[in-house]
Symmetry: C2
Subunit: 183 residues, 2 copies
Amino acid sequence: MNLTIVTSNAHKAQEVGAFFGGSLKLSQVSLDIPELRSENIEEIAYAKAQSAFEELKRPLIVDDTGFFIDAFNGFPGPYAAYVLRTVGVNGILKLMEGVTDRNASFVTSIGYADEREVRVFSGTIQGTIATEKRGAAGFGYDPIFLMGNRTLAEMALEEKSRVSHRARALSAFRDWFLVTHLK
Amino acid sequence: MNLTIVTSNAHKAQEVGAFFGGSLKLSQVSLDIPELRSENIEEIAYAKAQSAFEELKRPLIVDDTGFFIDAFNGFPGPYAAYVLRTVGVNGILKLMEGVTDRNASFVTSIGYADEREVRVFSGTIQGTIATEKRGAAGFGYDPIFLMGNRTLAEMALEEKSRVSHRARALSAFRDWFLVTHLK
């Protein structure tokens, strides 16, 4: 079974490959797809998978991740990557100064498309925003995202890969895909 | 000459109508168009005009506005409306505490589409971010956007309508449109 992952991030492709082990052949394609402006990660992943399939005409997955801070009505939400590049983690910490509700969540949606259908599988993790950066592993918001008393950047990759939003979305996708396509 | 403005904002339609006076018949249509995720306001307006024309098949304009803060690499940029709804003007003031480079700009792009072409016209204003909200007029970021020593919210509507980013974009569009379509 062949599956294409549409991403410009080789590391992400490797992570997904490792997730599936030898059960399927994963190839990576970098494709410039116009993205939908939406506050709904599932909707973005759905549209992205659909557009990518129109272009490539073969079974594929795409993903999209959002980061939602409760005190700011979900900001930065689907614009997590943009906000990271502009105000950055330090900007988020500054916004959170004196804020008591520190709840936040990550959502990853995997969009799958083939000639018959488009499906979306999501994974979420809940946590809180730390008051300062902690840990050297990971990337993005990891150093300020606490699960329990450790940030994602304080976890080893193996541990993060078990508990993360992306891992949860991938599990949901894998459970469905292996049963329906690899019997 | 008939022209359709695609917006859900009746006030905006009136403003544009007033801008043209009796020289053309403007009708408003509210249309749910999937928006492109891009950091380029002109590109967003172009895609929006194109999609709207595919739907409506008649000469139309759309607009898109971004708000760019230099110290934050352009944040909130095209996500100005989303950021206003989530972190709000107070969040922006908090982020700007202690920041010395207070330069910012507004950009509005008008996208025009008919059966022959799609064109984009833009207007920009430069200003600085105030240290606190001032003025009761206007909306959005107006109370913290200084042009000289007054915020946009301290200007009467007539004055703001002369100097604003939207007025500049509309002027550029009008100059082209009246010459090419109303000779």
